[in-house]
């Protein structure tokens, strides 16, 4: 019998959600079979069995979240095997077993008048009442005693859910915080009889919004954490520039005509992504990260593309974007976006980005300022392509334009450096042949 643990499926994963059980209790399992789908902080991933046997327990139900290392299920040699610490009926049966076990061998070697000790028989009935003991470190148990906390009520964050010191200290702190408001002295209101009457407890604020909590997945939590980190740690500055998109529009039409037999279609966004990669080659300072007081220059150019999905926002990465032919950029972007919408991106698909592009043009947004995707140093926000009155050679003419806005981490990149990058990018987009040269 062997336990299946919540695996670490990405570098940053701390806990996982059982998305769905592919194998049900009693199912035969062969090594390599997909057992369960697990939602990590980055994607929903299939997790395979490492050995043959039968799934005899799903310790963690669908939709539940547990830390890495927690037991999520049990595989055994026989479909009828009972997991040792499953509690309930199984544990009761096991505990009762000694009573029924024949003891002739023991009795034979004892003198007749010396009755065999009845300890097992007496101890057995007491067992089921105790229930399974939750794992805890000795230090956690001692601290819980000292704090007067019931350790079985504390959720463990250690391997297999072991309660460790940090958990007990957190529980003690939480209890303090819960106590504190109650213990705070109330300002005595009106003196006289009214004050003496016990007041019914009043909620401090009435919720006039009629709110309810929406359960969120790991991906949402990671988005929240990372974007907060970006805005708190990276001092953003913003550079805005409108580019003339007439040539780009024309160029795209020509390319798609050429590519028509292959079925590949290049979007404006593909052109922008490729242009960004091409220009980044001349501006290595923008292809960088500020991490822990260190400036990292990235030698590979990996452009991430923000994709809206049902659960939030993901940024799949086109590795070595500068080295990919335009048609390849188009095809891979399409494939990554599809995988993103199906929740099938691998951690690798989302790792290693050095610059991101976010395009809300399809929603008719003129322009916007994007939040940097840490630890990258910059993100390009792309607005809609639209016809605008433009002054050209002293005359007002209608031209297609796109508004670009570059958000830059000032710790890694200074204003002039960012501006020079944006200038070159605009020029490349306005002479789009340079995108592919």
């Amino acid at each position: 019998m062997s336990e299946i643990y919540m695996p670490r499926l990405s570098d940053t994963m701390e806990e996982g959600v059982i998305s769905s059980w592919v194998k049900q209790v009693g199912d035969k399992v062969s090594a390599g079979d997909v057992l369960v789908e697990i939602e990590t902080d980055k994607a929903v991933m299939e997790y395979e069995a490492y050995e043959d046997g039968y799934l005899v327990q799903q310790t963690v139900g669908e939709g539940e979240t547990v830390p890495i290392g927690a037991v999520i299920g049990v595989i055994a040699d026989s479909p009828d095997a009972v997991p040792a610490d499953s509690g309930g009926a199984g544990a009761a049966e096991q505990a009762a077993a000694p009573e029924q076990a024949p003891q002739p061998e023991v009795e034979e070697v004892r003198p007749a008048e010396e009755a065999p000790p009845t300890v097992p028989a007496q101890a057995a009935p007491a067992e089921p009442e105790r229930g399974p003991r939750p794992l805890s470190s000795p230090l956690a148990r001692r601290l819980a005693r000292e704090y007067g906390l019931d350790i079985t009520q504390i959720k463990g964050s250690g391997p297999k859910g072991r309660v460790v010191r940090a958990d007990v200290e957190a529980a003690a702190k939480q209890r303090e915080q819960e106590k504190a408001p109650a213990a705070a002295p109330q300002p005595a209101p009106v003196p006289a009889p009214a004050a003496a009457r016990p007041q019914p407890p009043q909620p401090e604020f009435e919720d006039l919004r009629d709110s309810e909590e929406v359960p969120v997945g790991n991906i949402r939590k990671v988005i929240a954490r990372r974007l907060t980190q970006a805005k708190q740690e990276a001092p953003h500055f913003y550079l805005r520039r409108t580019v003339d998109a007439e040539a780009l529009k024309e160029f795209r039409a020509q390319i798609n005509e050429q590519l028509a037999p292959t079925g590949v279609k290049v979007s404006v966004n593909d052109l922008i992504v490729k242009a960004v990669a091409t220009v980044l080659r001349d501006h290595p300072a923008v292809n960088s990260s500020w991490v822990d007081d260190k400036l990292l220059k990235h030698n590979r150019i990996n452009v991430g593309i923000a994709v809206a999905v049902e659960t939030g926002l993901v940024v799949p990465v086109l590795h070595d974007t500068d080295k990919l032919p335009l048609s390849e950029v188009a095809q891979r972007s399409r494939a990554l976006a599809e995988k993103a919408r199906d929740g099938k991106l691998s951690p690798r698909d989302m790792s290693g980005g050095t610059f991101s592009v976010s395009n809300l043009g399809m929603f008719g947004v003129d322009s916007f300022a994007a939040v940097i995707n840490p630890p990258e140093a910059a993100i390009l926000a792309v607005g809609a392509m639209r016809q605008e009155p433009v002054v050209r050679d002293g005359e007002i003419v209608a031209r297609h334009t796109i508004a670009l806005e570059l958000s830059v981490d000032h710790r890694a990149v200074d204003g002039a450096v960012g501006a020079a990058f944006l200038k070159d990018l605009a020029e490349v987009l306005e002479s789009p042949m340079r995108i592919v040269l």
Partner: protein, 331 residues
Amino acid sequence: MPVITYRQALRDTLRAEMHRDENVFLMGEEIGVFEGSYKITEGLLKEFGERRVRDTPIAEEGFVGAAVGAAMLGLRPVVEVMTINFSLLALDQIVNHAAKIYGMFGGQNSVPMVIRTPGGGGQQLGATHSQNIELYYAFVPGLKVVAPSTPADAAALLRAAIRDDDPVLFLENLGLYNTKGEVPDDDSVAEIGRAAVTREGTDITLIGYSRMAMVANQVADRLADEGISAEVVDLRSLRPLDRETIVNSVKKTGCAVIAEDDWLTYGIGAEIAASIQEGAFDYLDAPVRRVAMAEVPMPYAKPLETAALPSAESITTVVHETLNAVGRRVG
């Protein structure tokens, strides 16, 4: 304070002790004319003559036995066994004679002798010449076993060993001879049986001796860069074992990783882990982990030898795993 090598610290201390006490003399294979396989006794034959620096035949049982007899009669022999591997040939003399004579004969004779011998792998000397079998001696009551990791400790513990009235196995390490460190220019004598906290910390206790104490300190340096505060306990003495210092450190940090060059199963680390759970059970927040040599006869091929030995990397990994187990997200 002068900065000298571990090798130099041993040589200087031997010379000073021979000047201090005319009963101190050296015996061993190739220690005289050849000045020692690892050059610890360089220059000593010239300085003290053949009476006090004696080349022996290749016969460990014979010359260790002779040293036991000399010690019983009042001399203070310092025997060099070329490597700890060859001490196996003198096992009976060490375990059944040197260790037991004082107790078996009612304290009529003590055996004030020192067996200096290096252990350690990493030099591509093959399976029979790369062992760390100090455990065999640390197991035996009646012996003392010391294992200095720094030049300063090498000097202070060698003085203590020579002046001690019991037989002391003085463990050196091939990987330490060329390491350098400050050595106080005094006559300080270490207390045998006292571990040292060589670095104070609060997050985790690293425990090692001999070469692994040095590596543990290097690991602690790296961990400090990651914001992890590791305490390092250098055992210095394997028998007697300073359980108090170990236990007090673990009481402070709540978790421990033991690094040892010997094999894991039944190794020195097993004894330390047992001592920790006995003395600091209610303070443990994670299982005590051990990092030891792979359970194989030492391979000769360099990549395999390197893979078999515990390293700063393998210790760091286990430290990360231990800290993750107590809720620190590291590594």
